[in-house]
């Protein structure tokens, strides 16, 4: 199965792209997606998405389609064709 991962703001500039389609072996959680793109795209992206214990940072917001999903939500399963957005916190004025 495959899902589209979207990046915004500073996450987008560190990832070097706005969105990508990734392949998954099977159903997974939003936290699994964050860990997968972090390991695929290298240290800089990993550092912004994950804390020292490899857990998603709570200040990065994640959405499945239009709906925010809690990082520790294991009941929301990402399925084929979903769009997952990793939203960078921004505060510019």
């Amino acid at each position: 199965m495959q899902v589209t991962v979207e990046y915004t703001a500073q996450i987008k500039s560190i990832a070097g792209l706005a969105r990508e389609v990734i392949k998954l072996d099977g159903p997974c959680t939003v936290a699994d997606i964050a860990r997968q793109v972090a390991s695929a795209r290298g240290e800089d992206l990993a550092g912004i998405l994950l804390d020292e214990n490899g857990q998603p940072r709570p200040s990065i917001l994640v959405f499945r389609g239009e709906d925010q999903v809690r990082w520790d939500d294991t009941s929301t399963v990402v399925s084929d064709g979903d769009t997952i957005t990793l939203l960078s916190p921004v505060s510019g004025g």
Binding site: T8, A9, Q10, R57, Q68, L87, P89, V90, G92, G93
Partner: protein, 253 residues
């Protein structure tokens, strides 16, 4: 509060025509007071639109003097004012547009120390601060004092905006339970991007105060002006939020 004068009815005639707003909405704006925290790229335009719309009183908080790098977006600052106070320049420009407007110019940024007093002076806050600790200080006070908070922010060609209604919607700390380590103070910005989200922020304030339309309550509008993608996203409240949460764990903090 003083009723609308004939002069005010003439000035605001074309917006009084907006269905659902009318003279009652205009009177509500006249009676209202709004804190705009920092009058930079975002806050300058928020303040200008609110001044144009006939808000009765603005509290403007922004430290420092005008620098050359302010002038690409901070539209209440002028070339002639380089080196002089930002809030004084903002006050002067707003008064040129609307001499009836009452302005409290505070030459300080919002801090933990002054937030309670500044939020206490107004009916609604538009948050345009470039640092999360300033935003968190306003969020806490708005929740405690039951005041609506329009939270708008940008980066590069992207922006985010939501309206926080205490007791009804998630608050800023529901979204960001820590000072985001990813955020850097210096950011790429066109004035047209900060100005776009500023107009949306001013409109949210007008909607809440004038009781017209539907504010972005519990909804985050995100936009990328590079490709003109606009998206509405539903936000989650955090029951254990230390600021607005209702769980026993949150209440004991």
């Amino acid at each position: 509060m003083a009723p609308l004068t004939d002069h005010e009815k003439a000035v605001y005639e074309w917006q009084i025509w907006v269905p659902g707003f009318g003279e009652a909405g205009q009177q509500a704006l006249k009676d209202a007071s709004v804190l705009v925290s920092r009058v930079g790229g975002l806050g300058s335009v928020v303040a200008y639109e609110l001044a144009a719309a006939g808000i009765g009183r603005l509290v403007l908080a922004h430290a420092g003097d005008i620098k050359p790098s302010d002038l690409n977006r901070q539209l209440l600052m002028t070339h002639d004012g380089l080196g002089s106070s930002r809030v004084e320049s903002a006050q002067r420009r707003l008064k040129e547009l609307n001499p009836r407007l009452e302005i409290v110019a505070v030459p300080e940024n919002v801090t933990e120390e002054n937030a309670a007093k500044l939020v206490g002076e107004v009916d609604l806050v538009v948050d345009c601060a470039p640092l999360f600790p300033e935003r968190f200080a306003m969020n806490r006070q708005c929740i405690q004092q039951g005041k609506p908070l329009v939270d708008c922010a940008m980066y590069d060609c992207e922006f985010q905006i939501t309206t926080i209604l205490p007791g009804q919607t998630p608050c800023l700390e529901c979204l960001f339970p820590e000072d985001p380590p990813a955020w850097r103070r210096e950011f790429p910005v066109f004035g047209a991007v900060s100005g776009t989200v500023a107009c949306l922020g001013a409109m949210e304030a007008i909607k809440v105060l004038g009781d017209v339309g539907e504010p972005l309550a519990g909804t985050l509008l995100t936009c990328d002006l590079r490709d003109m993608t606009f998206q509405r996203r539903r936000l989650l409240k955090r029951e254990d939020c230390p600021v607005c949460g209702t769980s026993t764990e949150a209440l004991s903090k």
